[in-house]
């Protein structure tokens, strides 16, 4: 683009040059005629009336064709010489013209006009600020990077950020190395687990909980008297220690921990479980050793008398068996190895049958008879309990229908619902479906739910139970007295039947206070129109005691052990001479 704008006098001498994009050689003091070939044309133009501007086509001395527009101002001309190659250059040209018409008649400009000068200074300052900002920015980025790296390094350093002990991974690595390098020594893995640590957090806050962990860590660090001892906090409140075995080790460690906890300034009784795995079998990896130590610790859970437990073969076998059980549970279920036994519920006075509790038994083709206490906890842990329970409930419904169809006298069967079952949304639906499918009425299937299920804070659970009740099911609370019911739960529980735990009874015989409480509980149940059934009654004395107490129904070995359906039907449901 050629764009030239200048103010000339009436002779054509350039007084002030405004723009000169193509560096045409007509500068201040020179005459614009110098630019052009056809001077006569220019003269003609200048003699016209230029008050509104006139344009002509001209040739530069370089032969290039341009436009020339002249506008007359007061005592001078505004000269525009221009030419564009494409429409894209049009805006630039317009801007040039606009710039030209805004030029004031400046007389005697300094080499650096003050206005421009100030602006330029400001601009320089701005750029300097921008530069500083850019530098700071880059510096910040580097710092950020360094911080990140430092963080990674700390993590790499294998330290648990809370207690300063080794991280689990680091512990396993170091322990493995130690064991390998010291094949001649014997080592122990000790697991220390604070019981009910969650309560500390809940009641006193996580800060206090953290403090406790830190302090315990410090206490344990005292054990680190040699280079073969390592300590880690593996899970939230579980500590593992690897150290060389000494005769008095267990007692020492236990005393240390007990002393620590007893003197700990917290208004709560703290207890720790300690489990030991004696690392004789070096073929196990550390992680497994820790598992076993922990298993030993868990075996004395809730046992206030046991101080520590050593993992032994019995535990080992149990562990193995549990594994085996889990491996075969599904096939067993499909095969029908699980069967439903029934235990009668009676009126104490008359021995009259009022119902039966369904109890699952497992007759394993390989292991034989497996006790529920052996497999129920495992199934609850791995979730298989729901499948099992569904099977049992279905079976019970089947029984009830069969009895009806065969004209046998029917009575309600109570089934157990595990706390775990409540996590399944399909639960109420399934039960309702079974009732429908087998043509029963809901009252025929009583639902036994253990007390601990209630107290473990679940509004959801309560909601489901209420729904089932609305559907017509009878709700029985199992193991009443074994948990920590409060008046609140008692008054709000949607139950129809209360099953009194035998354990409570056992203790009541000796204890006047407990007797009183029991009496009250029974009266309370009565007042709430809740039936009371005593569970686990084995002796006549117990029965008599209960009657005195005001409890008129019972279940237990005294009245019949759990038995197969066949036996049950034959013994209790079939009237001799009939059918």
């Amino acid at each position: 683009m050629i764009g030239y704008a200048a103010i000339c006098d009436h002779h054509g001498y350039v007084k002030r040059m405004i723009r000169n994009t193509a560096l045409l050689p007509a500068v201040e003091g020179q005459n614009i005629r110098n630019l052009f070939l056809e001077e006569e044309k220019l003269d003609d133009l200048l003699s016209q009336d230029l008050s509104y501007g006139v344009s002509i086509r001209m040739k530069l001395r370089t032969e290039k064709e341009v436009f020339l527009t002249v506008l007359s101002l007061d005592s001078s001309y505004l000269i525009l010489v221009y030419s564009i190659q494409s429409l894209e250059q049009l805006p630039q040209l317009v801007e040039l013209i606009l710039a030209a018409i805004h030029v004031p008649e400046v007389i005697g400009q300094d080499p650096y006009g003050t206005g421009y000068y100030e602006i330029q200074k400001l601009n320089s300052q701005l750029i300097n600020y921008q530069r500083s900002l850019g530098k700071s920015n880059a510096r910040l980025q580097t710092l950020l990077e360094e911080v990140r790296e430092a963080k990674y390094t700390i993590e790499e350093l294998e330290q648990d950020t809370l207690t300063g002990l080794l991280t689990e991974k680091a512990f396993y690595a170091k322990a493995a190395a130690v064991l390998e390098q010291n094949a001649d020594k014997t080592f122990d893995v000790i697991a220390v687990d604070i019981e009910q640590f969650k309560i500390v957090n809940d009641v006193f806050g996580t800060k206090t909980g953290d403090r406790l962990l830190i302090d315990l860590a410090i206490c344990l660090l005292d054990l680190k008297t040699n280079e073969w001892t390592y300590i880690t906090r593996a899970r939230a409140d579980t500590f593992f220690v690897l150290l060389p075995h000494t005769k008095t080790l267990y007692e020492e460690v236990n005393k240390k921990i007990v002393d620590f906890l007893e003197n700990y300034p917290l208004p709560m009784r703290l207890q720790a479980k300690m489990g030991i795995y004696h690392a004789g079998n070096k073929e196990l990896i550390i992680a497994r050793m820790c598992d076993r130590a922990l298993m030993a610790a868990e075996s004395i859970k809730g046992n206030y008398n046991a101080k520590y437990a050593v993992f032994d073969n019995a535990m080992h076998d149990k562990m193995l068996q549990e594994q085996k059980i889990i491996n075969t549970m599904v096939e067993s279920l499909n095969r029908g190895d699980f069967c439903v036994y029934l235990q009668p519920k009676v009126v104490i006075e008359t021995g009259e049958l009022i119902g039966a509790e369904a109890l699952v038994r497992w007759i394993h083709p390989e292991f034989g008879f497996i006790m529920p206490s052996d497999f129920i906890p495992a199934f609850e842990k791995n979730g298989f309990i729901y499948s099992l329970d569904l099977y049992v409930w279905k079976k019970c419904c089947e029984m009830l229908r069969d009895w009806k169809q065969k004209g046998i006298r029917t009575l309600p069967i109570s089934v157990n619902i595990s706390r775990i079952d409540f996590y399944h949304e399909s639960l109420p639906g399934m039960l309702i479906e079974f009732i429908r499918e087998y043509d029963l009425s809901p009252e025929e299937l009583h639902l036994e739910i253990t007390e601990t299920a209630y107290t473990k804070d679940s509004g959801q659970l309560l909601a489901i139970i209420e729904r089932l009740r609305r559907e017509g099911f009878i709700i029985e609370m199992d193991d009443f007295g074994s948990g920590y019911s409060s008046l609140n739960t008692l008054s709000e529980l949607p139950i129809d039947v209360m099953k009194l735990d035998l354990k409570f009874l056992n203790q009541a015989e000796q204890n006047l206070r407990r007797q009183k409480v029991l009496e009250c509980a029974v009266h309370l149940a009565d007042a709430l129109q809740v039936q009371v059934i005593a569970e686990g009654v084995e002796t006549k004395e117990q029965a008599a005691f209960l009657k005195n107490m005001g409890c008129f129904h019972a279940q237990g070995y005294l009245y019949g052990r759990p038995m197969s359906e066949e036996t049950f039907v034959t013994r209790y449901l079939t009237v001799p001479g009939r059918d």
């Binding site: 007084k15 002030r16 921008q130």
Partner: protein, 354 residues
């Protein structure tokens, strides 16, 4: 504010007025044709010449004025293309003789010998230049294409274009050092020339500087993101408040090469320099001087700094030094033509101190 040194010197001010008056007196055509504005310009031109003379006197550097005479001759020839080269030479020689004549009235006698010598230098130089068969060829470097491209954008006030050209050059893989020193600096030098030849106006020159600064600022994330080497350079401009580009080039290129920089900006008084050096303890101080008229100021500053900080390294650079070797007599470590040479020198110097 004045760029000119001789503000403080009443005698030389009077000399300027004298020369100006004489010129007008002697030449009737000038009197008739020049309007107010043009006369102002003429006066400025005379002042500029005399100021240079004064500077050369103060710095006691003959070469300075001689080189100036050559430069101005080169500048004027195309400008006054209605005159032949000989005619231009004559005009200039006349002008120097006029100075000589007017000198007697206003300048103390003891300075005359020196001034005469300087004027002789100028006359000689002018005559020599005129006898050269061709004008010195304009400088055409490796990146001539880019220079023309960038210059074109500036002249057309194409801000967006100029800004994107700079980033384009980076993308094209042109080394940052070259972009700064060969493309941008050369473009600005040409802009300066064009302004000096009155081909473009001063606002265009300001605009070019502003846009160039903005365009280069786009590179800051790139420049400051390089790995640090742990050395510190302190950069400042002596005298000129508007000629920061050279100094900033040094600072930026040093940053790009891993140095940290303290950039003090333009027209930094000596006290500010002193306190900055005391605070930051830089490894190297780089001083930039654009106008030869500010060279004496620079020398003063250096002398003061040397007193306080005998061991710090000092480098000088800038357009002012193009006309003279005077830095050799100063207490400085190095003069380099451009930032690239300076960083090269610095890298070598500090290599052992790693």
């Amino acid at each position: 504010m004045s760029l000119l040194m001789m503000e403080q010197n009443p005698e030389f001010n009077k000399l300027t007025s004298e020369i100006y008056a004489c010129q007008l007196e002697n030449d009737q055509r000038l009197r008739e044709e020049l309007d107010d504005r043009a006369r102002q310009k003429m006066y400025q031109d005379v002042r500029y010449n005399v100021d240079f003379l004064y500077t050369a006197l103060k710095l006691q550097d003959d070469g300075l004025f001689g080189k100036y005479a050559r430069w101005i001759y080169q500048l004027l020839c195309p400008l006054m293309n209605y005159c032949s080269r000989e005619r231009v030479r004559d005009i200039m020689v006349e002008h120097y003789e006029l100075i000589r004549t007017c000198m007697g009235k206003h300048i103390p006698r003891e300075q005359h010998p020196k001034l005469n010598r300087l004027l002789d230098c100028a006359v000689r130089a002018t005559i020599e230049e005129s006898e050269r068969s061709t004008l010195a060829a304009p400088f055409k470097g490796k990146y001539e294409g880019q220079v023309e491209e960038y210059l074109g954008c500036l002249l057309q006030s194409d801000t967006k274009g100029a800004m994107s050209l700079i980033t384009q050059y980076v993308k094209d893989g042109i080394p940052l050092n070259d972009i700064y020193v060969e493309i941008v600096t050369e473009t600005m030098r040409r802009i300066g020339d064009l302004w000096h030849r009155h081909i473009i106006s001063v606002d265009m020159e300001h605009y070019s500087t502003s846009i160039t600064q903005m365009a280069l600022a786009q590179l800051y994330p790139f420049i400051f993101g390089q790995k640090r080497k742990g050395h510190l350079v302190l950069v400042a401009c002596v005298g000129s408040e508007l000629h920061e580009l050279g100094a900033r080039t040094v600072a930026d290129i040093f940053e790009y090469n891993g140095w940290d920089s303290i950039y003090l900006g333009a027209a930094v008084p000596v006290e500010a320099l002193e306190s900055a050096i005391a605070e930051y303890s830089p490894d190297l101080i780089a001083l930039s001087v654009t106008m030869p008229q500010h060279l004496p100021l620079c020398r003063e500053a250096i002398d003061k700094l040397r007193e306080l900080f005998p061991r710090v390294r000092i480098a000088v650079g800038g357009n002012a030094f193009l006309y003279t070797d005077i830095w050799k007599e100063w207490n400085v470590d190095i003069y380099t033509r451009d930032a690239r040479e300076l960083i090269k020198w610095a890298e070598k110097e500090w290599e052992s101190v790693r």
